[in-house]
């Protein structure tokens, strides 16, 4: 499996980009030349210079430092949403798949209800009603995404359950958590990984879109979507601000894009249906 991933140039490029971004985010405090919150009103909107490699923003803060710290927020938020969604989806999917009967039926109807919403619309409404904050965005995006996962994982569990050796293990008395961990999780892991990589870009796009709409982080916290939203007022005088934040978002999405595509091709997993 991993050899095939490594053979795909796309997947490699994706892995490289994602790894680079994660490293940049992780080592932002070391790499950033300045304090991302350090306001200097005398140095507003300066162009690139040795001291400020990407220049400064509207409050005289180092743009590069803000981008680096922004990677933490943006990618961190996407990962956070993703972890929440995955945990919820896996838990509910497995419970639903194993329990069957009424429990399964009820859970799946709830999932149907969530899938009936156009995803971004529900995310915007939830985030908007919770109020502009990183938390609102996280809840908004997660509330939309979990349902698809739950359904996907349930069907994977059902398929896995059909397998003879799982059936055998059940007959032999393996039950509950042990059965899940020993026999079912290993089977559903590959599709989940691919799905994860494919979906990360959607999560990234959705979170940064909400931030762009002003439903995301509060200033002065650096976040790429919000930075882009601020930067557009300077499109004539300092286009570099828009280019820098826009390129960062696009690069991150591109990375996950390539990674997901590469993994999918390499592992030959069908892409989950989504809107």
């Amino acid at each position: 499996m991993f050899r095939r991933v490594l053979h795909s140039r796309l997947a490699l490029a994706g892995i490289a980009i994602v790894a680079l971004l994660v490293m940049l985010a992780a080592f932002a405090p070391v790499l950033a030349p300045h304090d991302p919150y350090g306001i200097d009103l005398d140095r507003r909107l300066e162009g690139p210079s040795p001291k400020y490699p990407l220049g400064t923003d509207a409050l005289g803060r180092c743009l590069l430092s803000r981008l680096l710290y922004g990677a933490r927020t943006t990618i961190g938020a996407a990962f956070a949403v993703f972890t929440a969604v995955l945990a919820m989806g896996v838990l509910i999917g497995i419970v639903s798949g194993l329990a069957g009967g009424i429990t399964d039926a009820v859970i799946m109807r709830v999932v149907d209800v969530f899938l009936a919403f156009p995803s971004l619309i529900l995310a915007v409404a939830v985030a908007g009603f919770i109020g502009p904050s990183l938390f609102g965005v996280l809840v908004g995006v997660a509330s939309v995404w979990w349902a698809g996962y739950a359904r996907f994982i349930r069907s994977a569990v059902l398929t896995a359950r059909q397998k003879e050796y799982v059936e055998g293990a059940r007959v032999a008395g393996t039950r509950g958590i042990r059965l899940v961990l020993r026999y079912i999780v290993p089977q559903v892991a590959a599709p989940i990984i691919v799905l994860a990589a494919m979906e990360m870009r959607w999560v990234l796009l959705a979170t940064s879109s909400l931030s762009f709409l002003g439903l995301g982080v509060q200033p002065p916290m650096p976040e790429w979507g919000a930075m882009l939203s601020d930067a557009r007022h300077y499109i004539f005088s300092s286009p570099r601000m828009m280019i820098a934040s826009g390129a960062s978002i696009s690069l991150a999405v591109l990375g996950f894009n390539l990674l997901g595509e590469g993994l999918r091709d390499a592992l030959q997993v069908k892409q989950a249906r989504r809107r």
């Binding site: 109807r109 209800v113 156009p118 971004l120 619309i121 409404a125 009603f129 940064s208 809107r275």
Partner: protein, 319 residues
């Protein structure tokens, strides 16, 4: 067919009921007091009696369950309530702005269908050659650039730098172009890629070879033999894309000042105009659900195998 449609519609009832519960409960997620909001206490303080008058006027003094039941029974009678802010009826407000959104989403849909089909065919027929690679690169890029960035860049490039297309509103066909491209490009590319894979699959089928063996023209082979089969799995995807387009419209409309329901909803969210937001979410969900249903029916109509009840699984096309 009719029986099936009825069955499908009936199956939607509990789903839509659930949708209404979730939509309604959105209101309780929000901090703050809608009564203060109407007063638009923006620069001036509302008098206390005005607030109370408002609360009783909009029935905000009831408990959540009573409010929900009242709300639902109104909604079922086709009444989505009135806007806290302007006092207009919400359904009138939505219906007023719906044409703009449908125009945008429909245009983007058409754009998506046309572009994805041409990308798909070109990609499949020129597999591995320059056009295919070009489209692949474009796809990877287009799906990496978020719609809001693409919109701003297009706006700046075509509106200001080249000065050829209008940047605001919905005046004249030219103003249509940028929002539609912004909304539809990513989906076009993704579906173009999917279609390419499907076409490559179909080309390998015996019946296509047989069609070539008959010496048919390329056009006839593409339209009659390849596309007809390749489009079937894509139809389902196109149906799904409606949700994506309606959601994306929120962003595109706010960038391009497009006077549709998405822009309205965003403004309503910002000013906590609950009836409008609730009405919008509910309405859009119904539109989306119905479009999915329509696609499902269209699929049944298009694919004779499903139509005749052969037990053919439309999901099994390797999409």
């Amino acid at each position: 067919m009719t029986g099936r449609a009825t069955f499908k519609l009936l199956a939607l009832v509990p789903v839509l009921l659930g949708v209404s519960v979730i939509t309604f409960s959105l209101m309780y997620m929000a901090p703050g007091n809608p009564a203060d909001i109407l007063m638009r206490a923006y620069e001036e303080a509302p008098a206390q009696e005005s607030v109370q008058a408002f609360r009783s006027h909009f029935g905000l003094d009831d408990g959540p369950c009573t409010q929900y039941v009242k709300w639902l029974s109104r909604v079922l009678r086709g009444n989505l309530g009135v806007s806290f802010k302007t006092g207009e009826s919400v359904q009138a407000k939505i219906i007023d702005r719906l044409p703009a959104t449908l125009e945008l989403a429909g245009g983007a849909f058409l754009f998506m269908v046309l572009v994805s089909i041409s990308f798909g065919i070109t990609g499949a027929l020129c597999r591995g050659r320059l056009p295919d690679k070009g489209i692949h690169i474009l796809t990877v890029l287009a799906t990496s650039v978020p719609a809001f960035l693409l919109g701003l860049v297009l706006l700046y490039a075509f509106g200001v730098l080249l000065n050829v297309l209008p940047v605001t509103g919905r005046i004249g066909p030219g103003s249509f172009l940028l929002p539609v491209v912004t909304l539809g490009l990513a989906a076009s590319c993704v579906y173009g890629r999917t279609l390419r894979a499907i076409i490559i699959d179909v080309i390998e089928q015996n019946y296509v070879k047989q069609a070539y063996a008959m010496g048919l023209s390329t056009r006839r082979i593409i339209t009659g033999y390849i596309m007809k089969n390749a489009m079937l799995p894509l139809v389902t995807l196109y149906g799904m894309s409606m949700g994506h387009l309606l959601g994306g419209a929120v962003i595109v409309e706010s960038i391009f000042s497009w006077p549709g329901v998405g822009k309205m909803a965003l403004e309503a969210i910002m000013s906590r105009d609950y009836p409008v937001v609730l009405g919008y979410v509910l309405f859009m969900t119904v539109v989306f659900t119905m479009s999915s249903l329509a696609v499902d029916m269209a699929y049944r109509f298009l694919d004779p195998r499903v139509q005749e009840g052969i037990g053919y699984d439309p999901g099994g096309d390797g999409v």
